[in-house]
Subunit: 219 residues, 2 copies
């Protein structure tokens, strides 16, 4: 591993990468409604964001609009899906076959976004040898061996919070290069390992708080 400077600089900003799927979703809807062209102004207005931001975000994607008519909808969809990696196949392992882990293994929708869970790992002996939605579950002790055979380097972390750091250490040591972290724990990893935090439960706190505040305002 080469010596790393403190922060790797990426070409495409994370907020842009998080917004591009919005434009993709909107373009798909527009196509379904029979539209052929979309301007960035039109996209911006429909999803309530700033038009200059849409244009800037789309400048990272290799697509050019036509004066006055905008982007060809079919082309926009194809280019965005490719750019976002949704048309590739990304194989992944899942760590922690509990409630949320099992739920994600049930979710075939992930495949539409290019993600295929190839196996689940857990410490529970009673899960070993079983499967969910045709995805086999192995004891975590088998992970390193299987990783060496498959070269899979995306890991989904759905273990209990008190095991998050320990299991992510095992993942990294065994060859995982990107961790999709669903635990509310802020795991610490080497700088050349990608972490995406998707703590869905944290969003509940925001929702509960806002609901209470509205109640107090009597809205």
């Amino acid at each position: 591993m080469p010596h790393l400077k403190s922060t790797i600089e990426f070409h495409v900003p994370e907020p842009t990468l998080r917004r591009l799927p919005w434009y993709l979703a909107f373009a798909k809807l527009a196509l379904q409604q029979g539209e052929s062209f979309l301007s960035s102004t039109r996209i911006a207005k429909s999803i309530a964001v700033d038009a200059s931001m849409v244009a800037k975000d789309l400048s990272f994607v290799k697509i050019s609009g036509r004066t006055r008519v905008g982007y060809d909808v079919n082309e926009l969809i194809a280019v965005l899906e490719h750019f976002l990696g949704f048309t590739d196949s990304h194989q992944a392992y899942l760590f922690g076959v509990g409630n949320l882990g099992g739920a994600l293994m049930h979710d075939n929708g992930l495949q539409q976004f290019g993600m295929e869970i190839k196996a689940g790992f857990d410490v529970k002996q009673e899960l070993t040898g079983t499967s969910i939605n045709h995805i086999p579950i192995h004891h975590i002790d088998k992970f390193t061996e299987l990783q060496q055979q498959t070269g899979i380097h995306i890991g989904i972390l759905t273990v209990p919070v008190n095991k998050a750091q320990e299991v992510s250490d095992i993942m990294v040591k065994g060859g995982i290069k990107a961790i999709w972290n669903f635990t509310p724990y802020r795991i610490v990893v080497p700088e050349n390992v990608i972490v995406q935090n998707t703590s869905i439960y944290a969003h509940l706190a925001v929702m509960y708080n806002r609901l209470n505040a509205l109640k107090e305002l009597d809205l």
Copy 2:
């Protein structure tokens, strides 16, 4: 409904509400490891955020630390869980029993964060009368009637993207006050309706992009 100004101002900032669950997770881990007190510096160091931010975030919560020793861990956990609404019971309806919707109905972990899904709604006749994980599934036509009986005002939106706006309109009209939106579509709602966007697939785009960038850098 009173006339609303363009933006409702909430007391607790959203970034704070999203970070507080991190501190809660860390406090639970510390308790398990036998620690009795935690300083904001200690929390900050362990989860790699700024100490002044931790102190500021915790200032919204009614808890006071002791000089030199910090916060009592048990008290910190209890106060945070209460403040975040995780100890209350929040009943919710789920709209769109597809892959992700079904997966969320399978996820008993939601209950640990105070959320209980009481029913799923879908347009598919063949789902009507069935259940997932003991949660009944009804035709969406029954929603308004059931809502009036139960008063449930949290809705989880997991319909296909091209139905997101249409179904959220139905939800709002039928009495839903907070929408947990799992679709990548930016729904438009009246200002006194809360929306929390949790587009888990959008995070995949960031992860794929970062992985490719690292490959190109040969890290």
